[in-house]
Amino acid sequence: MNAPLTLSATATASSTDLLLWTAFPYICLAVFVVGHVWRYRQDQFGWTSRTSQLLEHRWLRWGSPLFHLGAFAVIAGHVVGLAVPATWTEAAGISEHAYHTAAVALGSVAGVAMVTGLGMLCARRLLARRIRLTTDRSDKLLFPLLSLTVLLGFSATAVHNVFGGGYDYRETVSVWFRGVFTLHPQPEAISGAPLLFQLHALSACLLFAAWPFTRLVHVWSAPVGYLVRPYLVYRRRAGTPPVPKPAVGAGSSSGSRRAA
């Protein structure tokens, strides 16, 4: 379905486009994957959400749920907008206009919640001295990068789709995005997109590269298993045999246990 575009554009992709929209995303993804493997194996102790609620809870009380719930909706919107080709939704009988109206409406609510929440979380990190002092190097990278990505995405939507004439990113940005993951990179698909969309995509790539080295890793520890596990957890002491040996002849076996 994208064949004509691919054929015509491959010829015209400049080396800058190749670098920005093929090499750079793949480097970022590689860092994302390798970084996670490395961190998971090396740093279980540092793998945490780094809660600071103990030190400050008034801003967090509103900021954190707003940000997280907004982020869930925004991520879901991205999955639909980037991963699902326009042809699929059309086949499902959803017109282009209906799709974009719904996307802008739902996306605006989610985006406002996420931006507000992130703003509150950043404000508390800057203004509450206790929190500022617990901010480490990874946070100093993560908070600006995350804010930049969120704001670029937010303003791209606002400028082009809410107040502007409407820009159909599903014909350009989404095609590029899917190309990266299907190993058929199409740098030319995004090279003509508005600057805000391009910058948003680039900063998102950087965010993915930074991900494994920040507190964002807590995302992968979302404790859904808690819903089904038994309440009480018993564990044997590390280093002891996992199953106690059956004591057949009581007296003698306990003696041998000591030697076992």
């Binding site: 400050e56 809870h57 967090l60 480490d136 404790p223 819903l227 564990r235 044997r236 002491r237 009581a250």
Partner: protein, 507 residues
Amino acid sequence: MRVLAQVAMVMNLDKCIGCHTCSVTCKQTWSNRTGVEYAWFNNVETKPGVGYPRRYEDQQRWKGGWMLDKRGRLVLRSGGRVKRLLSLFANPDLPSIEDYYEPVTYDYDNLVGAPAGPDIPVARPRSVLTGRPTAITWGANWEDGLGGAPEHAGGDPNLSGEWARKVKFEFEQTFLFHLPRLCEHCLNPACVSACPSGAMYKRTEDGIVLVDQDRCRGWRMCVTACPYKKVYVNHATGKAEKCTFCFPRIEAGQPTVCSETCVGRLRYLGLLLYDADRVGEAAATADEQDLLDAQRGVFLDPNDPEVAAAARESGIPEDWLAAARRSPVYDLVCRYKVALPLHPEYRTLPMVWYVPPLSPVLDAVTGAGGDQNDPDHVFAAVTRLRIPLEYLAELFTAGDTDVVAGVLMKLTALRSHMRSSTLGEEADESALAAVGLTAGEAEDLHRLLAVAKYADRYVVPAAHKEDAAALSAIENRCPVETTGDPQPRKVMLGIPTLRRASDGGRA
């Protein structure tokens, strides 16, 4: 019957002088690190008082422990699984640092570094959270010895009943005792049940409740769920930390640091065998005041041959069984029944028990012009003076004053019997008989409470490992880095090498 063993503790509150040696040695051993400055795995509170953290016993506010829902099922007071996951982003029932206290250090350098001048240099307090000078307005033991009681002690959540209106915090009329508290290492731990990551666990071998620092993801639900507020957030690492019952020492057959250093020798350590299959049922006992008996019903008699056989079946070694038979904790909890759990109504089945203090009653007898040494006066006080009794019942028996009165009468009869026999007077055994003790049992209980030596108070069998030497070795380092220091340094802790080296298969 699934027999498990637990190293449990009993404290004899009449002997606690509130010296805080246990707290200080515990802190020096375990929590003198960045991030847990405010945390006292062991603390000593003055009762009546609001406690540490402030009003932690108010479960309407803090939602700790378990409760029965409308259909009589046992549920966490802080809510079910879905509600817990929904409150991950902001936990509405988490105490803030102000509910503990703002930790401070002092400008010690100023004492030696101040320029010469007419004034003596002083070391001003400085918040360790902000690095700025601060006023110290609260602490882990702000109300020591009823200090400020007229102002604060009315906030004690145990003073909520009708009777409590009469409690006066006038110097002449009041009573006080000290309550050392540490993690209860409960049979039905709410913290473990609330941990979304499954990082907290109860060890099958010795019942110690621990946090797996590698698995904790900092969701902080354990802090809310623990009704005793004995799990703490390390604000530097973002992970939960708690009393470890000094497991490296216990595994080596040594008492915990708080027990070892207790000046009043009021702590007892020993094994309790319990039936793990009956824990849930006992915790769900309908009437709060039956929880004490229900929990005692979960404990097993180590002298019972059937219990011993079942214990061997579930892998409890022979020397542990022998230790269970010599356990001073079993004697105080089950045989003489003078020890009581702290707040059984939280339904966690706590495993640090207390011999309630007789001193509030004795003080009341003296205050009323009676003779402390006359058991009749004390008996009369136990039955008539409701206030100390009601208060103790709130703490130890979910409000059942008869049980507390029974224990206090037993202690009074014992006191009077030993007094007369020591002074060579004719011993009156009728008082003993009234509380269900024979002269022989009284001697035995007296020995246990008054003169027991180190080896009698701490009956801790070493962990069953062939490499027991490695267990007690202080070689490896805990991965608890202090953050905020310019040069992150590792802190030496007594963690045996084995725990990290050979735990490839985490069960």
